[in-house]
């Protein structure tokens, strides 16, 4: 972890119509910090990281990436593109492209890397997530865990500094969760700044610098995993943890 501020959120408020999803969220994420966000469904945790990636617009407050405040313009889009990668619960791979093409599309057209070089780089990344042998397959031909690893490779190919994970293992069979978590742990150790919305508490325990517990659109509790997961201050947190650990 360094002292540089990767993400700075202050006074963030968001409504879906008249439903108040995010209430006065303020959060600073340092470079290379690993943050795990957990909380019951509808607590606004997904919305929070989708706001960081500008998939959702917020109504109040500000979000800054490496000191640059995000607006609704082209410059902010570039900042997001060059700095942030995102993973989704249901992978969202491009089904009409091969695994390799999924990875090389961004580098070739956005980073303007020559095709051969992009293929070489993407192959290296696919190898790193352990699926180099699937390069020529289409997403419809591979398993869920493999799909999520392709999605990670696709994001990594754009060389982001920050990765957002929106429940990356919730749609996976138990046997496949581990292969994705292993890749995420590997990423965390390589010095990536990460915000993970996940209910994998073991993962949180193992790699998180801070755990955030959200409920009803607010950050209820925030701190090192040992503190939040083992000695929560609030009853809401301990109720939730009980459900998760005993389910």
């Amino acid at each position: 972890m360094s002292d540089r501020r990767a993400i700075e959120i202050s006074g963030l408020n968001k409504w879906f119509d008249d439903f108040h999803v995010l209430k006065d969220i303020s959060l600073t994420v340092l470079e290379k910090e690993i943050i795990v966000v957990c909380g019951p469904s509808g607590s606004g945790k997904s919305t929070l990281i989708r706001c960081i990636n500008h998939l959702e617009n917020h109504q109040e407050g500000s979000i800054s990436i490496f000191g640059e405040k995000l607006e609704n313009d082209k410059k902010s889009a570039d900042i997001i593109r060059t700095n942030i990668g995102m993973l989704f619960q249901n992978f969202n791979l491009f089904p009409h492209l091969t695994v390799l093409e999924n990875c090389t599309l961004g580098p070739i057209w956005l980073r303007k890397i020559p095709e051969l070089k992009a293929i070489e780089q993407s192959t290296t990344i696919l190898d790193r997530v352990g699926i180099a042998d699937l390069a020529a397959k289409y997403p419809g031909q591979i398993s869920g865990g493999q799909k999520q690893r392709v999605a990670i490779a696709r994001s990594l190919a754009m060389e982001p500094k920050i990765m957002l994970f929106d429940e990356p293992t919730s749609a996976l069979d138990p046997e496949m969760i581990k292969e994705v978590l292993d890749v995420m742990i590997d990423l965390a150790k390589s010095g990536m700044t990460m915000i993970c919305v996940t209910h994998e508490m073991q993962f949180a325990q193992q790699v998180a610098d801070r755990v955030i517990f959200m409920a009803e659109g607010e950050i209820v509790e925030m701190g090192p995993p040992d503190q939040v997961l083992k000695n929560p201050k609030w009853d809401r947190t301990s109720q939730f943890l009980e459900h998760i650990l005993t389910h």
């Binding site: 593109r81 990668g85 995102m86 969202n92 491009f94 599309l105 961004g106």
Partner: protein, 447 residues
């Protein structure tokens, strides 16, 4: 103690069974027939009655069209004298040239054959496996071929612009084939050789400039080679028959898709100006019959132009048909766009793709693939709809067929020409639909 105090229970090793090949039914033809057509009394009765009905319908038609038909005669009276109950095909055979080429001068018809030959030649590389960058070839065919065709079919000595652009198009086609041949033989293409040469001086866009330069050189060569060749001017008024039908339908089929895509994207756009323009165009055009659009473009459009400008009837018709087909295509494409899950847009955005890249690489390829059956259906109905231009006096295949019945030799010969062109239409439409099935199968494999 080294070992744990409670020894683990011994586990059995799981070995999966070997797979068996699937069971293939081995019924013979007779057994299948029995199973499907004569499985019980009711089905047997049904089968027999349906076959009897078919026999009763087909037999008289075959007798009329083939067995009792007349194949050679000089006029209709002769036909009737030989076989009063049979079809009289000589009329159609004698008019075959007119049905295909309309009133295009016979000694100039090689230009039409050459034009369509070149058009086919342009499309052949698209079917070859080894060829790269097929989208570029298809685009070039769409953009360049109309100019080449225009000059070949129209001709004229003072159309220097048409002549030059036709040479540009022909040059592209020649280089395309040269490149394919050289690549197949394992040689460098001239464009690549020039790229290396230019690369010594100017690294950045060497590949592009190399290709453009070779294109320019071949074009100049062609312009000088053919400068003494003058094609006789054949006015659009004498174009006709299947040739004209194919030009109108081919042009509008090719234009309908881009127009439709733009209108569909416009209709889903966040920008009110584009959205409302698209909605108005689509709804207005779709709520009016094609024949009305055709009449409006032929009779009303000239009112908006000064008297000095003589509008070309074919061009007016082409514009009308394209707009009409585009509006329908827009709704088909929009249907495809709506079927794309929002996750695809989000994923594209999180990779960093902007609007046009997202549409071009992620959304449209999926949307168009899903819509192939619907798109081809629109193409087929458009192909058939173009026969309406006969009503506003273009001598397309329909009007030529009707003309046979007012020829003094073949007065009153209505049925045979219509059946003949139905047969032609069937061939074209059926091949289109078969091609779309082939395309669907091929694309399904890649998923």
């Amino acid at each position: 103690m080294d070992k744990p105090s409670t020894p683990k229970a011994e586990l059995l090793e799981f070995i999966p069974r070997p797979s068996r090949p699937p069971v293939i039914p081995t019924d013979g033809f007779i057994v299948k027939l029995k199973k499907h057509l004569f499985s019980n009394i009711w089905n047997t009765l049904l089968t027999i009655s349906v076959f009897t009905l078919l026999f009763m319908l087909i037999k008289p038609f075959l007798e009329w069209a083939i067995f009792d038909a007349v194949w050679s005669a000089t006029n209709r009276r002769e036909c009737l004298a030989i076989s009063p109950d049979g079809a009289c095909w000589p009329g159609v055979i004698q008019w075959l040239n007119g049905l295909i080429y309309g009133r295009y001068p016979i000694d100039q018809q090689w230009r039409i054959n050459l034009g369509f030959g070149l058009g086919l030649a342009w499309l052949i590389p698209l079917a070859l496996k080894q060829v790269q960058q097929k989208i570029l070839i298809a685009l070039s065919a769409i953009i360049l071929f109309p100019f080449l065709g225009n000059y070949l079919f129209l001709g004229g000595s003072d159309h220097w612009f048409n002549y030059t652009v036709a040479c540009v198009a022909l040059a592209y086609l020649l280089i395309l084939y040269l490149n394919i041949a050289l690549t197949y033989l394992g040689h460098k293409t001239p464009g690549e050789s020039l790229e290396l040469l230019i690369g010594h001086f100017y690294q950045k866009r060497a590949a592009l400039f190399g290709r453009l330069l070779i294109w320019l050189i071949v074009t100049v060569l062609l312009v000088f080679t053919f400068q003494n060749l003058t094609l006789v001017l054949v006015e659009v008024d004498s174009w006709g028959g299947l040739f004209l039908t194919l030009i109108i339908s081919g042009f509008s089929i090719v234009m309908a898709l881009p127009i439709g895509i733009l209108l569909a994207l416009g209709r889903r756009s966040q920008m009110p100006v584009f959205r409302w323009f698209s909605i108005c165009t689509i709804e207005l055009v779709r709520s009016v019959p094609l024949i009305t659009v055709l009449f409006m473009s032929v009779t009303m459009l000239p009112l908006f132009f000064p008297n000095t400008i003589q509008l070309n009837k074919l061009a007016q018709v082409l514009v009308a048909v394209c707009v009409f087909a585009g509006a329908y295509m827009a709704e088909t494409v929009r249907g495809g766009l709506q079927g794309i899950p929002p996750g695809q847009f989000e994923a594209a955005k999180s990779v960093g793709l902007g609007y046009w890249y997202t549409m071009a690489f992620i959304i449209l390829p999926q949307a168009l693939r899903a819509m192939i059956p619907n798109i081809v259906t629109s193409f087929i109905s458009l192909f058939k709809d173009t026969t309406l231009v006969s009503i506003i006096g273009l001598f397309d295949i329909m009007l030529m067929a009707r003309n046979i019945s007012i020829d003094k030799d073949w007065l009153g010969l209505h049925t045979e020409p219509l059946i003949a062109i139905s047969f032609l239409f069937f061939i074209f439409c059926y091949s289109m639909s078969q091609y779309s099935h082939h395309l669907e199968k091929k694309l399904k494999k890649s998923r």
